[in-house]
């Protein structure tokens, strides 16, 4: 890495170009895609064209366009792709859930004969079912999105509260494990806090809080963690005592695994920390250490926990257990496999045949109806969000912002990989939500806060310096260290 390469590429953008109109165009394009999908699904299921075809997509336009206005007002220089990409996925999720509402769910134990005919489906009220509930979660998520942009004028403010956030994160992680199973257990995983009709998945928020804490902590410690160490086989390994933080996080991840019985979440936290450690220190040895620790824990967990053995067993060959243990996986595979290259068409598959079609297995439902082509496009939208998030990390100047953006983006990528890989039998299945798509408020709100943070950081990185301040890299001196930043400025390494 050279000195010039580390200079933010803000200068590459013409001064003052906000690219908000690009964002609006992309957003409208996304809304058209959502409307097209839903119209096709609704017509296929009700066999006629009614005004209901347009109601939900038009309702969805409201929060997304409001979010666009919020970005114009509070983060005018932000990346123009993040909001439309997240909105497209979120909207597709809502209309897909609505589409699932229009057919009987064979697993909810409710007899819904009216939903077996096209005529009955027409009469299904708009304000019923998971689709509209998810819509309200979207409203909530986008209100928080707006609040983050409005109130958090600079992401570096977060680093002031790093320890508070970290502690809160730990509490949230631990809470479901401590709470009695009656409150916290759903489908064998203790990941929830249920209060009456309301339930939240604290791990989704804990992930965010810990992200902030790790970013701050690693920025403070990165010099120690990256410069000290012993060289073994051409690779610099950290000193024993510098291993303590990673061991602590590893231990915490194992505790999550033991007490909350969820491999996916445990893997998420650990992956999050190791990747950030690597980004902060640029030391490959951390990845090696991380992978071996994870492998060790996984082997150990596999021998200790029967539910993990089961997951590996049905992953290696699901067919002998197709009626019982691997029923869900097999139904998902059959759905996606039947979908083929172009899918059955919106509303023309039977995604409801897969248990948890609205949450963990929503991607299987999409695969059945929009096929390989549609699903690949969807994965590429995720990849765009992740790549844009990492680009935000590359362009922002302060180390805290870099780590926060890169960590958030990679975590989302890892989560998509773990759940989609699980559903498609690439890796053993673990219960994780599919960002933006899955039914559920916690995941939706948390992921939209991530988008808000990325937009906030990208606005900072692309914002032209105020008049009178010489832009870095345009002939002036080196950028002035920002007083808000507790972290040392970028260490230029060769």
């Amino acid at each position: 890495m050279s000195a010039t390469a580390s200079v933010p590429s803000a200068t590459a953008q013409p001064r003052g170009r906000t690219r908000r109109n690009t964002e609006l165009m992309l957003l409208l394009l996304g809304l058209v895609i959502i409307m097209g999908f839903y119209a096709a699904a609704d017509i296929a299921l009700t066999k006629q064209v009614t005004s209901s075809v347009f109601t939900l997509p038009l309702l969805l336009a409201i929060p997304f366009l409001a979010a666009h206005v919020a970005v114009r007002a509070w983060a005018p220089y932000a990346d123009p792709v993040l909001l439309p990409a997240a909105a497209l996925l979120t909207g597709m999720g809502v209309v897909f859930l609505r589409r699932l509402d229009l057919v009987p769910d064979p697993y909810n134990g409710i007899d819904e004969p009216e939903l077996t005919t096209a005529a009955g489906r027409i009469d299904f009220p708009l304000f019923a079912g998971q689709g509209i509930r998810q819509y309200f979660y979207v409203l909530g998520a986008l209100v928080l999105f707006g609040l983050v942009l409005a109130l958090l004028k600079d992401h570096r403010i977060l680093s002031r509260y790093a320890y508070t956030l970290g502690l809160a994160g730990l509490v949230l992680v631990a809470l479901p494990a401590i709470l009695p199973a009656s409150i916290s257990e759903v489908n064998g995983s203790k990941l929830w806090i249920r209060l009456g009709a309301f339930s939240i998945q604290p791990s989704e928020f804990a992930k965010l809080l810990l992200l902030c804490f790790f970013s701050y902590y690693l920025v403070r410690k990165r010099e120690v963690l990256s410069l000290e160490g012993r060289r073994i086989f051409g690779m610099v390994f950290p000193r024993g005592r510098d291993l303590i933080p990673v061991l602590v996080v590893w231990g915490a991840a194992i505790l999550i695994l033991v007490f909350e019985r969820d491999l996916g979440t445990s893997l998420m936290y650990f992956g999050l920390f190791v990747s950030m450690l690597y980004i902060a220190t640029q030391r490959t040895s951390w990845i090696l250490i991380g992978l071996s620790l994870f492998a060790g824990a996984a082997v150990l967990a596999h021998t200790l926990f029967s539910n993990l053995q089961l997951r590996v067993m049905i992953w290696s060959d699901p067919w002998p257990y197709a009626e019982n243990e691997s029923y869900q996986l097999v139904q998902g595979l059959l759905g996606m496999g039947t979908g083929g290259l172009f899918g059955a068409g919106p509303g023309q598959g039977q995604p409801e045949k897969v248990p948890y079609a609205s949450s963990d297995f929503i991607i299987a439902g999409f695969g059945e109806e929009i096929g390989l082509v549609g699903l690949t496009a969807m994965l590429l939208v995720y990849l765009v969000i992740i790549a844009r998030g990492l680009k935000v990390g590359l362009t922002v100047r302060d180390a805290f912002g870099k780590l926060l953006a890169a960590g958030a983006a990679f975590t989302m990528g890892l989560q998509v990989f773990v759940i989609v890989g699980g559903v498609t039998k690439l890796i053993p299945l673990t219960g994780l939500t599919t960002p933006f798509l899955s039914y559920g408020g916690s995941s939706l709100v948390a992921n939209w806060i991530v988008i808000a943070l990325l937009i906030r950081i990208s606005d900072t990185s692309r914002r032209p310096p105020p008049p009178g301040v010489t832009a870095p890299g345009t002939g002036g001196g080196p950028a002035k260290p920002d007083r808000l930043d507790h972290a040392p400025t970028e260490v230029i390494k060769l």
Binding site: I279, L333, L334, G337, L341, L390, G421
Partner: protein, 481 residues
Amino acid sequence: MNAPMRHVLMVSIGLFVLLIGNLTWLQFFQNDFYTNHPRNTRTRIAEYSSQRGAILADREAIATSVATDGELKYLRTYANGPLYANLTGYKSLDYGASGIEAAENEILAGTDDRLFVNRLTDIFSGKEQSGGNVILSVNPKVQEAMAKGINGKKGAAVAFDPQTGAILGQYSSPSYDPNPLASHDTTEVTAKITEYKDTPGNPMLDHAAQDFYPPGSTFKVVVSAALLEMGGYTADTMVPAGNSYTPPQTSHVIKNSNNQCPEAELPLKEALARSCNTTFARLCVDKIGANQLKETAAKFGFGETYTTPLNVIASKTGEMPDPPTLAQSCIGQNEVAATPFEMAMVSATIANGGARMEPHLIKELQAPDQTTLERTTASKLNQSISSSTATELQKMMFEVVNGANGTGKKAQIQGVTVGGKTGTAEHGPGVPEHGWFTGYAMGSDGKPAIAVAVFLDSPGEGGSSEATRIAGEVMKAQLGK
């Protein structure tokens, strides 16, 4: 920190490449595996979620889909299942479909391109989509007369409208009931299909069109046609007879079944009426020859397959390389083999003045709203024989049914011009012979009303007489007598 971030981007891209690669394997390369996997109920649920069109024999619905409460919303039901099984075929969950159910699946399922506008308007008018109807040209009375006549024994019968080629009846016995095969209970279907396949007489094979048999003396009609086409002969021309004939190059003597042709010479029509083997074997060897016979047979449709749209296998004459085989072939033995379908075609063509009409089973295809999509129009395949030959053959076949010594008297119908030819065919030493009749009846307008062939598999003594009687009943059914 930028270099590791780029590495993380590379890793992320790598992870997504893995996901997409795995999806490509799953959705593209394994598409067939999953689509046809026995655990996959998606394809069939989609197929059974809308009402499949009906199959009708004239105005009588013989295959319909009725609503059920199950996950598969419609059950295919065959009214009078065994009577029409060889025509409707069956539509099953795991064993595919046969007959019209398979041949006209796109119309019945509503996926045919011609129904595209219907599907579109259904979407906008809010109607549940259903398939189109297939109306067969079959006259239920004719079909019933065939079944009643054959009465569960091994055999088959086919009837045409000679003027149009429309199939009025096509029955195969023993038959099977397609209803259990349409069951939604797959174990029942498997048990039933195994049972049918193990049943002697192979009920799932259409013996009228999917199998051929030595036609015996009915083939003499084709031999006569070949002779008349050569010129110089009429129904009244005197031809050699006698009760024995030894063709060249063999010591095998050809005889008549009851020594019924002792005269040295007989008029051609009388030789046919009495079914003199000696006459036709000698005429073939001395006058007609293998090439002329093959040519005439080919013009009648031997060697030709039909698609009605059900498949009809090709009948054959064999090679007939020398006088002994030629002599045997000319009395419908040796390698000559014909489907009952083809033998009915021969009579239909003769009754229709030599014009062979394209055989068809489907009268009309309808959209779900019962408007006509397509009506089959009569089309001529070829002029098999000249009209004068046809006229002479009609005289000869009339003599078979009405002459004093005729073998086909049982096909007589009061006040109706009926012609035909009986046949008894050996098909192996010690095995009872096949019984045949092929013939036609003229309508009150003097035009041909029906041509029919009845085949009885190995009934032995009296078989051709029974076949003749059944053919008479079938013709009566069409004429309303």
